[in-house]
């Protein structure tokens, strides 16, 4: 007979075990970031793969989101004759939340899956074992460069996404909704505060860490051939999404919870 309590208990224990393994993996990988040798060429290569190759998808996401946001705020605001809030709300929403979160999610979809698939394939084809036999630490050679690259690249991507998102709002505001261009930019600048930009960049760096961590962790520990690699890829994306949304909430509460 199936005991529901036993199933719940086993599920919780399995979950805690997985969390423990993830923390251990993160701790080992992070410790390798600062210990030589540091593979600068691999870090640069990963920055290119994560950053430059993600620019189109992140840019388009930000552009369309900024434009749609401006349209919705204009429709809502016009009920109270408050169309002038469009630039301010757009810039705050984009910089504080949508730029980093949507940018992070898009990059997670692209990059976490790619990392998990690559490292997973290396695992099942014994390439990671081969690295060890060639006196090379896989954490240092494979994981650390991905973590460093993602942590430094995501803020740059989110900065670009923020600018493009605001531009999307500006374009639809001035071209379709009849808002004045100079006033739009002036209100945008007035509403934007340094804390908004800092929090956006901090969020991006944290998201970058989790994107690379989840991709690397699931790929590195992949088992069981092609099916295992497929599972690792799915798990990497799902867990990166959850980590991004959860840490976004935490950072938002910490930074804006008191002052608003």
């Amino acid at each position: 007979m199936i005991n529901p309590l036993a199933i719940i208990g086993r599920t919780i224990l399995d979950g805690l075990g997985e969390l423990g393994r993830l923390f251990r993996f993160a701790a080992i990988a992070t410790s390798h970031i600062v210990r030589p040798p540091i593979y600068w060429r691999l870090i640069g290569q990963q920055m290119w793969l994560i950053g430059y190759n993600s620019l189109p998808v992140v840019g388009l996401t930000a552009l369309f989101t900024g434009a749609a946001l401006a349209q919705q705020i204009f429709v809502g605001g016009s009920r109270f004759n408050a169309e002038s809030v469009v630039p301010g709300v757009v810039v705050i929403a984009i910089v504080r939340e949508l730029g980093p979160v949507l940018g992070g999610l898009m990059v997670a979809g692209r990059v976490s899956s790619a990392m998990a698939a690559e490292l997973g394939t290396m695992r099942v084809t014994e390439q990671i074992d081969a690295l060890v036999t060639l006196s090379t630490d896989p954490f240092k050679y494979l994981v650390a460069p991905r973590l460093v690259a993602a942590v430094f690249t995501l803020p740059l991507l989110v900065l670009v996404a923020n600018v493009i998102g605001v531009l999307g709002g500006f374009l639809i505001g001035t071209e379709r909704l009849g808002l004045n261009g100079a006033t739009y930019l002036q209100v945008t600048a007035e509403f934007l505060e340094a804390a908004d930009i800092y929090s956006s960049l901090v969020k991006a760096a944290v998201f970058g860490f989790f994107i690379a961590l989840m991709g690397s962790y699931h790929g590195y520990n992949s088992r069981g051939g092609a099916q295992g690699v497929g599972k690792a890829t799915t798990n990497a994306v799902v867990s990166a999404f959850i980590a991004i949304l959860f840490t976004n909430l935490i950072i938002t509460v910490i930074v804006f919870g008191v002052t608003g």
């Binding site: 074992d129 036999t133 006196s135």
Partner: protein, 257 residues
């Protein structure tokens, strides 16, 4: 008396209730070539992974040049691994690197050689295994299975290791290519004077490569001796295995209606 280059003492390993290695004891003298034969699932690969430090045994000692690979520090293990070359069953070449970069990997990362010197050595090792310099610039995905094995062999001998492990070196190759690989292994090992441990279920390969042969069955070494004695082992399990008979004491799990 010179201590053995590789020694396994009472090594045990299990996964849950599945006991994979039971009290393994083996010695390989310097310069000797030991081949371990055995069917699929007999524990050969687990034993090799334990010897490389990729897996920890439950108990026992895995001594390489007198140092227990399972118990030494990470930096000491790295030093021990520098003495070891390994040819993987699937060759395990790095997809993202060119052929010469694969061969030179251990020279650059492990020994700190500059790229130009490492490439020269890599090209020489590729020539040694019968591959031309043109191949060096290709990616592993562009090579046939036999060529990948040769590149894997070139990578294994590139650092001129004292010990070389071969994991199923001829699996997946046609008989002629398998013989070519066997010949290359024998020649390369003789050149280097290396101590080797090979795991295989290919008897032609075992007879060609080995000085001594041991048979692993259900996690135990059930026979060990000189390769010239294997035809007269007096062991029914060994006889069944080397002749490839379906009938005998080794029962395969096959579903019969």
């Amino acid at each position: 008396m010179t201590p053995p280059m590789i020694e396994l003492k009472n090594v045990k390993k299990s996964f849950g209730n599945n006991i994979v290695l039971q009290d393994i004891n083996l010695k390989i003298a310097k310069g000797q070539s030991l081949v371990i034969i055995g069917g699929s699932g007999s524990g050969k690969s687990v034993m090799l992974k334990c010897l490389l430090g990729l897996m920890a045994p439950d108990s026992g000692q895995l001594l390489i040049s007198g140092k227990d690979i399972a118990k030494i520090s990470a930096s000491d293990r790295k030093q021990v691994l520098k003495k070891i070359g390994m040819l993987f069953q699937s060759a395990a070449l790095f997809d993202s690197l060119k052929v010469w970069q694969n061969v030179a990997f251990g020279l650059i990362q492990g020994q700190g050689l500059d790229k130009i010197t490492a490439k020269k050595i890599a090209l020489e090792k590729l020539r040694r295994v019968g591959l031309s310099p043109d191949v060096a610039e290709l990616s592993p995905a562009e090579l046939s299975g036999g060529m990948q094995k040769r590149v894997g062999l070139a990578r294994a001998i590139a650092t001129e290791p004292e010990i070389i492990f071969f994991d199923e070196p001829t699996t997946g190759l046609d008989p002629i290519m398998a013989d070519v690989i066997n010949d290359l292994i024998v020649e390369c090992v003789q050149d280097l004077g290396a101590t080797t441990l090979t795991i295989t279920h290919d008897m032609a390969s075992a007879r060609k490569i080995a000085d001594r042969i041991a048979m692993l069955y259900e996690g135990r070494i059930i026979w060990e001796g000189a390769k010239t004695h294997i035809n007269n082992s007096g062991n029914a399990y060994v006889d069944q295995f080397i002749h490839g008979n379906a009938q005998g004491p080794i029962q395969m799990d096959t579903a019969k209606s």
